[in-house]
Structures are given as C-alpha cells and as structure tokens.
Symmetry: C2
Subunit: 216 residues, 2 copies
C-alpha cells in the first residue's frame, strides 16, 4: 500500500508550492517512493475526521497502514529513515544532517513565518508596515549567519540531505520578499534545490491541483 | 569522554530554567548520562570560537569527541537514539513520539516564542499591548487543540517520551503568563513533567549557575 498524504484542496498560495505538502512530495520524489494524496478543504481540515490525523487541524499528514503522522519535519524524517538518499549512512554526518532539519524549522523558519503571519493576519493593523521592518531585520540576522556558514559550498554539510531539503523549502517562502536576493550564495543555494528533478516533479504535482487558485 | 554542552554564563531568566540547556540536561538525566557544561557569555556566543559549534551564535551546543551538534531538538534526538528511555522501541510508537517532538517545536512553540519576542524586543513599541492580545489568542488556539488531544491521559502517546519532554519544556515558557491555567489538564501535564526526578535534577543544575541573576 502506498503512503497517503493530505494536501489543501485549494492552496492559499495558488500553486506557488509553499504549502507544506510540497516538501513531503519532494522527499518522496528524492527517494523514488510513490504516494497518494487526499485533498482536504479548510473546513474539513478542522473537523474530527481530519483531527484524528492531526490534532491541530493542519496539513500535511501521513498515513501508512495504521500509522498516522503529522508535522512535515517528522514525516520527512520518517521517509528519510526508511529509504536511502536523504540522510547519510555515517552516524556523525547523519546527526549533523538532522541538526540542519531542526535548524531550518526552528531557527530559520520562525521569523519567516512571523513575516507571513504579520502580512496576512495583521495587515489592517496600524503597526503592520513598521513591524514588518523589524521582522525583516530578524530574518536578515538568520540569513547572514546561514550565508556565512554555507560559504561557497553547494549544500550545508557535504552531499544534499534532508537538511538541505528542509532549508531550501523554508527559504523558498522568502522568494516574493526580495530579501533572499541580498545573499547571493543563498539565492544560488535555493535555485540549486529548485533545479533538482525531484523538486521539479513535486512542484508540478502540487501545481496540477492548485493552478489558477487565486493567491490569498 | 563525557559529552559537553554549552549554556549561558548568566541566563536572562535568572534561573527559571527556561533557557534551552535545561531541556538537554533533562534528557541526560532521564537516560542517566553524565555531562559537562561549558558556560558562555552573550558576547562569546557571537564570536567565531562558538560559531564553529553553532553558526547562529546560540546555546545549547553538544560536543562528543569530534561530533558537534546544535539545536535542542537535534541534540535531544541524538541522546534519545543512543540511550534507552526517551523513545519507544516499537517503530510506530517511536515515529509518533518523534512527531510530538516536532509538534512541540514547530506548532506549539512559535506563538509562545512570538509572545516572548514581542514582550522583550517590542516592549516600547506603541502596538505592544494590543499585539500581545492577538498573539495570546494564537497561543490559545494551539493549547485548545493540544488540551483536547491530551484529554485525561498522563502523556501524549503512551509512556513518557522525548515528545513529552519537549512539549513540557515548551509549555513551561508560559508559566508567568497565566494562560496555561486556562487549561487544567495541560497545567497538570506540565506539573507531572516538572515532578519527574530527572527534571528536578536538571532544574537544580541550571539554578546553581543562574540563581541570583536578575531576570531580563
């Protein structure tokens, strides 16, 4: 039986690939595992039938026989543990790749999500523009450190890993902001991720569902 | 050789145990692994000697022979993989416990950290009080879902795991806000975590360093 993931029936980004099912699709494509998708609406996501999959009423989720998981980090880790190609075999390199997965989700993504939340949920508040400038500076703090760490390397620690998959996925959310362009090596890093055939297939699969949905 | 972690020379919380070294200490205590601590100042944290441990200039870090890790999630996972007691042996239960680690760090912690950041970094902004109310409602959304999911259980999925260790650590940051008291089963859950002898030893160890430091 193929694993089943859930994704938005209509993604709020209109097919830009920024919803978190894209990163799961990408991981499946990297390891060559086919999967099925169950589409859910915003309304269905908050109902009990979906909350047994994710108590927070969000996508993506992962089902495989009677195993049900949520959280994109946990799902990608689960895929990476069960297939070759996303985590190094050598124990120390593997631990470092996992570190980059957590760094992407917990150190780099939070200010980037704060930007999106402020933009969407606080757009009509009088402080929105001024606060976005503060948040953008917090993003720049992280990107400056990340840029220095990446240097001229192709990937964060040796060959491409689940850590890079997650970091590129997180940085992609900044595309429309222009901030990424201030860090040429990070822009090139993201472009390198997007150019991978597995990413291309994942992007196309979500676009086939979401093309034409008006951006939120 | 014992693993070495880094911690604040003087924690900004004055010994409340909210800095992220406490969760690492807790994990070590749960599995019975002794460890050494290297204290770093805020200034030293941003210097090259520390940035080779953590490119973002933060604590905690983990060193074991020539392996260097950062990110509390990655460090706790590393400890949990190498010692019995923090992750179930059965594969599906293990994957679910890992899911709760990611859920704590990526779904529950972000609005809680947003609250702390707004409180500290935006205290003098005219929007601070009004924005805190918005953020508190986002926290309540998460806590309501988590409370419904926990129900009357002691821990999130069977026996205590690294998922609970992380979730309790994240929720502890809300203690001074009073918000946790609105969810009696979550308050009791956090108290259950704090009552564990391993947590008590971890808390005491950080307090011995930070007692008397004025809260930030």
């Amino acid at each position: 039986m193929k694993p089943i993931i859930t994704a938005f029936e209509r993604s709020p980004d209109g097919g830009q690939g920024l919803a978190r099912d894209t990163r799961i699709r990408w991981a499946f494509e990297e390891v060559g595992q086919s999967y099925d998708v169950r589409l859910v609406s915003f309304r269905a996501m908050k109902e009990p039938a979906h909350r047994v999959r994710n108590p927070f009423g969000q996508i993506p989720t992962y089902e495989e026989d009677d195993l049900v998981l949520f959280e994109s980090g946990a799902i990608i880790f689960h895929i990476a543990e069960r297939h070759a190609g996303l985590l190094p075999v050598e124990a120390k390199a593997r631990a470092r790749a996992i570190t980059w997965m957590f760094a992407a989700l917990n150190t780099v993504e939070p200010p980037i999500l704060d930007r999106a939340t402020t933009w969407i949920a606080e757009r009509k508040e009088p402080w929105c523009a001024e606060r976005l400038r503060l948040v953008d500076d917090r993003i720049r703090d992280r990107l400056g450190d990340l840029s220095a760490c990446l240097g001229r390397a192709d990937w964060l620690d040796g060959p491409f890993s689940a850590g890079d998959l997650m970091m590129v996925s997180v940085l992609l959310r900044l595309r429309s902001s222009g901030i990424l362009d201030e860090y040429p090596n990070l822009s090139a890093y993201v472009a390198r991720g997007e150019a991978r055939p597995a990413y291309q297939r994942a992007f196309a699969a979500q676009l086939a569902i979401n093309a034409g949905t008006p951006p939120a």
